[in-house]
C-alpha cells in the first residue's frame, strides 16, 4: 500500500480550525464531558484521522463539527472555524446551506443511512438541486458520473435501483457519492468501513484516498482502527476520555507512539508478522468515570509507565518532537516509550494427531429454504454451507475465516447442532451426532460448548450473572445444591478474571468485554472439551479484544480446551490458532497450519484477504466486485468471477487436495497469484 499522499497543502486559510471544543451531555447524574477541550486544524486537502476506543468521544467530536448533536448533548465552549467562518455562530439557515454543500459527512451504517423508499439517483441529486447548484437535469448527469467515480458498477442501471437492492459496500459508495455531490471542501467520515468486510473495506479506503488526491477534499476520518487510519490519513489524533492525548503523523504514531494509550492501541492489535502464539499487549482497567474527571492524567490508573506526577497534575498537550504533540509527563522530555516485552508463552502442546479426532465433519451441507414468493413458485434456497470437511483434534485450535455470508456462522451452528445439516456427517468424540435427537444431544452438550458473537445479545437480560452461570450446573446436576452451585459460580468468575461479587449483578451493568468474559465462563461451566467460538472478539475494542484473546489462550493451556474459532480477521486467527481454514461461499478453499497459510498463502482468495488487512507497508491485491449470491451457486470455482488469475478450466470445481503435509487447497493454479512484497516505508 502506498504511503498516503495528500495534495500539497497551500498556505491559505485552514479548512477547519477547532479550538478547545467542549461538548457535554447533560444527564441527571451530572454533566458528562464527552469532548473536553479538543483542538486541531486541517488545511485544504489534508487528511486527519481520529482514533480511540468506544466512549472516547471521537464520534461526538465528529457530530459536534457539523453541529449535528441534539439534546441532551450541548456544545458549551470553544470554536469551530470553517474557512474562517465560525460554525458555532451560524444561524439554522446558514447551517443548512453549509452542511451537505461545503462540508459533508459519511456515517458508519450504510444500511440505515439511505432512504429506503427513494431511488438511488434521487438521493444523490437531491443535495445538488436543493443547494441550488444545478437544475435537475444536469444534476442527474452529474449524479451518474459521481456514482461511476465511486466505483458503482453500471451506474445508469444502479441509478434507478432502491437501496435494498444494494450490498453494504455499494451503499457506502452511494453514501460517499451523496457526500461529495457538491464538491465539499471537507468530508467527515465516521467509521465508514466498520460494518464492511476486509476486502470491501480495502476498496472503500482506496476510494477515500483517491478522492483526497484527485479532488483535494480535506478528510476527517474517525475509526477505532489505527490501521484503517494509517492507510488514508497523514496525521492522526488519538482520543482518550474526551481529550486528544497524542497528535502526530500517523506513521510516527504507529512506529513510535509517545502517549502510553496510543502505545497500548498500537500494540494491542495482532499483527500478521508477529510470532505465532504470542500474547497480545493488553492494558487492564476501563476508561475513567466521565462524571468524575480525575485530577491528574486521565490515563494514569491504567498506565504501565505511570510516575508520581501523573496522579496529581493534569498534563497539557505538549510538543514532544517537531510536529508531534502528546499529553504525557513521561514522554514530555522527548523520549520514546519502550517496546512491549513479548510475554513468554508456554510451548504449545502438539495436537494429538494420532488420536481420533474430537470433532469431525464430512461433506457437510446446509440449505435454508426461503418462503415461496407465490403459491406456484419454486422455493428459493440459500446455499449456506456447501460441502465442508474438517477435523478438530484434542488440544488444537482451528480458525475458520471468511467474509460475511461465507457460511462460517452457519458452520458453527451445524457443528453444535443448533441447526440440522441438509447433508453430510458430524461426529463428536466418535459418536455420530448428525441426526441425534434433542434428548440424545442434551447429554453430549456439556462437552461441546459455544461462545457467541454479540456480548449484548448472548446473555438473558432478566437473569443475574449468578443465575446465568448456575443454570447449566443445576440443570445437569453438576452441583448438588444451590450453595454448591454458587461456590462454583464464584470460582468460574475468578477463572475469567471477574470478581465473584459480580454474581448478583445483571448483564446490563457490564461492559462488552466483561460480558464476553461472562459468556466464556458460562461455556466453561460444564467443563467442555470443545468450545466453538463464533466471532467472540469482533464486537470489542482492540484493547478489550486483546484481553479476551489472552484469556482464551491461557484457558486453553490451563484446561486443555480445543477451540473452533470463527473470525473474519486473519490477524486475530494468526495470533490464536494452530490451523486455519479459509471459507468462500460455503466451501473451504484453503486449509493448513496457520503460519503457513497466512505468510505463504496459495489460494488467490487467501492472498487477497491477507493483503486487505489495513497495516502500514502492506501492498494490496485489490479484489474487484463482491462475493456472489448464495441463492444460486456458480458453476465451478466460486471465486472465479473475482479471481485475477482465473482461466477457462476454473469452470470445473477444483477439489480440495493436499499440496503439502496438512495443507489442503482448492485451486487449479496454486500460488499463481503471489502476495506482493512488503513495501519499505520511506524515511
Amino acid at each position: 500500500m502506498a504511503a498516503p499522499q495528500a495534495a500539497t497543502p497551500q498556505t491559505t486559510v485552514p479548512v477547519l480550525e477547532v479550538e478547545d471544543l467542549r461538548t457535554v451531555f447533560l444527564t441527571d447524574a451530572g454533566p458528562v464531558h464527552a469532548v473536553d477541550g479538543v483542538s486541531f486544524s486541517l488545511g485544504p486537502g489534508e487528511t486527519l484521522g481520529i482514533v480511540g476506543e468506544s466512549g472516547s468521544g471521537k464520534s461526538v467530536t465528529a457530530l459536534s463539527l457539523l453541529r449535528l448533536l441534539q439534546e441532551p448533548a450541548r456544545i458549551v465552549g470553544g470554536s469551530i472555524r470553517f474557512q474562517g467562518r465560525e460554525v458555532l455562530a451560524m444561524s439554522p439557515r446558514e447551517l443548512r446551506d453549509w452542511r451537505g454543500d461545503r462540508a459533508a459527512m459519511v456515517f458508519q451504517d450504510p444500511m440505515t443511512g439511505l432512504n429506503p423508499v427513494k431511488r438511488i439517483l434521487g438521493q444523490v441529486t437531491e443535495h445538488i438541486v436543493s443547494h441550488g447548484r444545478m437544475p435537475p437535469k444536469p444534476a442527474r448527469r452529474r449524479g451518474i458520473e459521481l456514482l461511476r467515480r465511486m466505483g458503482v458498477a453500471a451506474p445508469e442501471r444502479a441509478a434507478a435501483a432502491f437501496p435494498h437492492e444494494f450490498s453494504g459496500g455499494m451503499r457506502q459508495r452511494v453514501m460517499m457519492a451523496i457526500g461529495l455531490a457538491n464538491d465539499p471542501a471537507l468530508l467527515i467520515a465516521d467509521e465508514p468501513t466498520t460494518a464492511l468486510d476486509v476486502t470491501i473495506q480495502a476498496q472503500i479506503l482506496d476510494l477515500l484516498r483517491g478522492l483526497n488526491q484527485e479532488f483535494g477534499t480535506a478528510i476527517v476520518l474517525i475509526s477505532h482502527d489505527l490501521g484503517v487510519i494509517g492507510s488514508v490519513c497523514r496525521r492522526v489524533a488519538v482520543m482518550y476520555a474526551g481529550e486528544v492525548v497524542e497528535e502526530a503523523p500517523t506513521a510516527d504514531v504507529l512506529e513510535d507512539p509517545r502517549h502510553p494509550y496510543a502505545w497500548a492501541l498500537v500494540n494491542a492489535v495482532p499483527r500478521l508478522e508477529a510470532p505465532a502464539g504470542a500474547r497480545l499487549t493488553a492494558i487492564e482497567g476501563t476508561p475513567p468515570d466521565p462524571l468524575n474527571p480525575l485530577p491528574g492524567c486521565r490515563f494514569a490508573p491504567r498506565c504501565p509507565f505511570r510516575i508520581a506526577r501523573c496522579d496529581t497534575e493534569h498534563p497539557p498537550l505538549m510538543e514532544v518532537a517537531p510536529g508531534r504533540r502528546a499529553r504525557c509527563w513521561v514522554t514530555a522530555d522527548g523520549r520514546s516509550l519502550p517496546r512491549p516485552t513479548v510475554p513468554a508463552t508456554a510451548e504449545r502442546r502438539a495436537p494429538a494427531t494420532g488420536e481420533a479426532p474430537l470433532l469431525q465433519a464430512t461433506g457437510l451441507e446446509k440449505k435454508f429454504v426461503l418462503p415461496r414468493k407465490s403459491l406456484f413458485a419454486q422455493p428459493a434456497m440459500v446455499h449456506a454451507v456447501n460441502g465442508v470437511d474438517l477435523v478438530l483434534r484434542r488440544g488444537e485450535s482451528l480458525g475458520v475465516v471468511g467474509e460475511s455470508g461465507c457460511g462460517k456462522s452457519t458452520l458453527a451452528r451445524l457443528l453444535t447442532r443448533l441447526h440440522a445439516p441438509t447433508a453430510g456427517r458430524i461426529t463428536f468424540e466418535g459418536q455420530d451426532i448428525t441426526t441425534a435427537t434433542p434428548a440424545a444431544l442434551r447429554s453430549l452438550r456439556p462437552r461441546l460448548q459455544m461462545v457467541f458473537q454479540d456480548p449484548y445479545a448472548s446473555l438473558n437480560p432478566r437473569m443475574t450473572v449468578g443465575q446465568i452461570l448456575a443454570e447449566p450446573l443445576l440443570a445437569h446436576r453438576r452441583a448438588p445444591s444451590r450453595a454448591a452451585a454458587a461456590e462454583r459460580v464464584a470460582s468460574l468468575l475468578d477463572t475469567v478474571g471477574l470478581k465473584p461479587a459480580f454474581a448478583t449483578r445483571f448483564p446490563h451493568e457490564f461492559s462488552g468485554g466483561q460480558r464476553q468474559r461472562i459468556s466464556i465462563a458460562r461455556a466453561l461451566a460444564l467443563e467442555p472439551a470443545v468450545v466453538v467460538a463464533d466471532e467472540p472478539v469482533s464486537a470489542l475494542d482492540v484493547n478489550v479484544q486483546a484481553q479476551v484473546l489472552n484469556l482464551m489462550l491461557s484457558l486453553r493451556e490451563r484446561l486443555g480446551l480445543s477451540y473452533l474459532f470463527i473470525a473474519h480477521d486473519l490477524a486475530v486467527v494468526r495470533a490464536f490458532c494452530d490451523r486455519v481454514a479459509v471459507m468462500y461461499l460455503g466451501r473451504i478453499v484453503e486449509e493448513g497450519p496457520a503460519d503457513e497459510v497466512i505468510t505463504r498463502p496459495l489460494h488467490p482468495y487467501t492472498v487477497a484477504l491477507t493483503s486487505a488487512i489495513p497495516e502500514p507497508g502492506r501492498q494490496r491485491v485489490l479484489l474487484g466486485g463482491e462475493p456472489p449470491s448464495t441463492l444460486r451457486l456458480p458453476q465451478g470455482c466460486a471465486f472465479r468471477a473475482r479471481c485475477p488469475v482465473a482461466q477457462d478450466v476454473c469452470a470445473t470445481l477444483p477439489p480440495l487436495a493436499e499440496v503439502a503435509p496438512g495443507h489442503r487447497l482448492a485451486c487449479h493454479f496454486p500460488g499463481a497469484l503471489a502476495p506482493l512484497p512488503r513495501q519499505e516505508r520511506l524515511p
Binding site: 447533560l26 458549551v76 465560525e86 442434551r442 460448548q449 445479545a457 438473558n460 437480560p461 432478566r462 460444564l526
Partner: protein
C-alpha cells in the same frame, strides 16, 4: 465571535419536568384506574342506597342533595348503582383480558416454538376466529349460551385470545433467534425450561402494554354487550345496561349520562396507563 468560555455549565431541563411531560398522563390515568378499583372494592360501604332498592315515589328525580345523580324509572339511586356497577365491569374486564392473554400467549408461544404443522394449525385457527367481527361473534355465542355475566365473559374470551396469540407468537419468534436462547440450547437445557425461563420473561414487557391498553377495550365491549341486553340479568347494576335503560329518556339525561361518563373515564384511564407503560418500556426514549 463569542467563543464562550465555559465557566458555568447550562442546566439541563429539570428531571421532574421531563418526567411530568413524559409520564404525566400515565400518572393521571393510573389515578383514575386506582380510584375506580377502590370504588369497586368499597361499593357496599360507600354507596348511600341499596343499588336495587325501588322507590316508586321518587321516580326519575333529577340530581339533588339526596340523590346525587338522580334516580331512574324505578326510583333507584343512579349513584349507588354506578358504584356497584363498577364491580361487575372491572371484574369482567380483568377476567376477560387476563384469561385471554394467558390462553393466547400460551398458544402463540407454543406455535412459535414448535413451528411446522403445530404453527400452521394453531395460527389458522387464530385466523378463523379473527375472520368474524368480534362483537357480532361474541353476541352470537353469548346469545347461544344464555344471558348472564359468566356466559358473556366466556363468549368474550372466545373472541379475545387470538390477538394475544398473534402477539405472543411474534414475540416468541423474536426471542427464539436471540443468542441467549441459542446459548441455552447449547447448554443442553430442556425446552420447557428455555420457554419458561428465557423466552417468556422477555416477552412480558410488550404483553403488559397490550393488556393494559386492552382492559379499557374489554370493559367497553362488556358494557356494549350489556347494553344490548346480554351481560346481566336485571335488576343487577351494570353500566352498559344502565345506559340502555336511560336510552329513551331524553329529558332525564342523568339516567344514561352518568354511567356513560363512568365508562369513558375507565377507558381513558387504562389507555393513558398503557401509553405510559409503553413509553417507559421503550429503552430508546427512556431518559436515565
Amino acid at each position: 465571535m463569542s467563543a464562550t468560555t465555559a465557566t458555568s455549565l447550562p442546566r439541563a431541563t429539570p428531571r421532574w419536568r421531563r418526567r411530568l411531560r413524559r409520564y404525566g398522563p400515565a400518572w393521571f390515568g393510573g389515578g383514575i384506574v386506582l380510584a375506580w378499583i377502590l370504588i369497586a372494592l368499597l361499593a357496599p360501604w360507600i354507596s348511600p342506597y341499596q343499588p336495587n332498592a325501588v322507590d316508586v315515589t321518587a321516580r326519575l328525580q333529577p340530581p339533588s342533595a339526596t340523590h346525587w345523580m338522580g334516580t331512574d324509572t324505578l326510583g333507584r339511586d343512579v349513584f349507588s348503582r354506578l358504584l356497584h356497577g363498577a364491580r361487575l365491569s372491572l371484574a369482567a374486564g380483568f377476567s376477560v383480558v387476563i384469561l385471554g392473554a394467558l390462553i393466547g400467549t400460551a398458544i402463540g408461544t407454543i406455535a412459535a416454538w414448535a413451528r411446522g404443522w403445530w404453527d400452521e394449525g394453531l395460527m389458522r385457527l387464530t385466523d378463523l376466529v379473527l375472520c368474524f367481527p368480534p362483537i357480532i361473534l361474541a353476541l352470537a355465542i353469548a346469545a347461544a349460551l344464555g344471558i348472564g355475566p359468566l356466559n358473556t365473559v366466556l363468549a368474550m374470551l372466545v373472541v379475545w385470545w387470538p390477538k394475544f396469540a398473534r402477539l405472543g407468537r411474534a414475540l416468541a419468534l423474536v426471542q427464539r433467534s436471540q443468542e441467549y436462547v441459542e446459548a441455552a440450547t447449547v447448554l443442553g437445557l430442556k425446552p420447557r425450561r428455555i420457554l419458561l425461563r428465557h423466552i417468556m420473561p422477555n416477552t412480558l414487557g410488550p404483553l403488559a402494554v397490550l393488556i393494559t391498553l386492552d382492559l379499557g377495550n374489554a370493559i367497553l365491549t362488556f358494557a356494549g354487550l350489556s347494553f344490548l341486553g346480554l351481560g346481566v340479568i336485571p335488576p343487577m347494576a351494570e353500566w352498559g345496561s344502565m345506559v340502555a335503560e336511560g336510552r329513551e329518556l331524553v329529558e332525564q339525561w342523568w339516567v344514561a349520562a352518568f354511567p356513560g361518563l363512568a365508562i369513558l373515564t375507565v377507558v381513558v384511564g387504562f389507555n393513558f396507563c398503557g401509553d405510559g407503560l409503553r413509553d417507559w418500556l421503550d429503552p430508546k426514549g427512556r431518559t436515565q
